[in-house]
């Protein structure tokens, strides 16, 4: 392979802009999951795709510097969060994984439904991001 200086200004500039749109859309999918199509799984995949786009436009070293987390630990934290939402229902004398919800008045947002199922979804989200990024980064680093 010829060694040439990478001159992909166009790709990098657009990636810098587009990554934020993708991340915002991922957040939207994650929070919309309760009442609309979306949820932790697809939100996690879209987040991982934004990180993969960064890894394509720049390189893996830069991505590791920008997102300085070990994605295996992210997977573990996700599983831990998901299990803890299940275990948490024991504290209220309920069976494992009993979820509840309440309507609360939030600052700026107004009256919103707060459900503990979102916490479980957060665990799914973190696990999906962690697993996807671990797979892709460990394949990508192979020479």
């Amino acid at each position: 392979m010829r060694r040439m200086k990478a001159n992909d200004v166009i790709l990098r500039t657009v990636a810098k802009l587009v990554v934020f749109i993708i991340l915002a859309f991922a957040a939207h999918l994650f929070f919309a999951g309760h009442n609309d199509p979306g949820g932790g799984f697809i939100g996690g995949l879209v987040t991982a795709s934004a990180l993969v786009l960064l890894a394509l436009a720049f390189d893996l070293k830069t991505v590791r510097k920008v997102v300085p987390v070990d994605f295996r630990i992210v997977t573990a934290i996700g599983l831990l969060v998901a299990v803890l939402t299940g275990v948490g229902s024991f504290a209220f004398d309920q069976p494992f994984l009993s979820h509840t919800f309440a309507y609360k008045e939030l600052p700026f947002l107004g009256k919103k439904e707060l459900a503990t199922a979102v916490l479980f979804d957060l665990g799914v989200y973190l696990a999906v991001v962690g697993v996807t990024m671990t797979i892709i980064l460990s394949i990508g680093e192979d020479r």
Partner: protein, 119 residues
């Protein structure tokens, strides 16, 4: 209803543009002209279909779908870059131009660059 006609015209225009783009994909002689046909007109076609769908939901169902606007902006930003990257990758890996091309300025530039770096 002017709204219905507008929506219908936008979606029909988009579909026709996408059809033109696929005809261009078949009829054009080499990679570069094909990517010219595929990226430009199909981007505009999909964008006008999305705009038609956005207006349909806005006017007929009173639903403002910000996702649709985001998708339009996203396509507008990314599809030409995808075309650019495909064309660039094709050129750098030596895909020949059509025989009817008359000028290739990048070849001279690339040759002198390679001589300088010794590759």
């Amino acid at each position: 209803m002017i709204g219905e006609w507008l929506v219908a015209a936008l979606i029909l225009l988009g579909a026709v543009l996408c059809a033109v783009s696929s005809f261009g994909l078949i009829r054009m002689p080499d990679v570069y002209t094909r990517s010219h046909a595929a990226t430009k007109s199909s981007t505009l076609g999909v964008m006008s279909i999305l705009l038609g769908a956005f207006l349909y939901f806005l006017l007929m169902h009173q639903v403002t779908s910000a996702k649709m606007l985001l998708a339009i902006a996203f396509l507008f930003a990314t599809a030409p870059v995808a075309g650019h990257m495909i064309g660039r990758a094709a050129y750098r890996s030596g895909v020949p131009l059509s025989e009817r091309s008359v000028q290739d300025d990048l070849a001279k530039k690339l040759r002198s660059e390679n001589k300088r770096t010794g590759a």
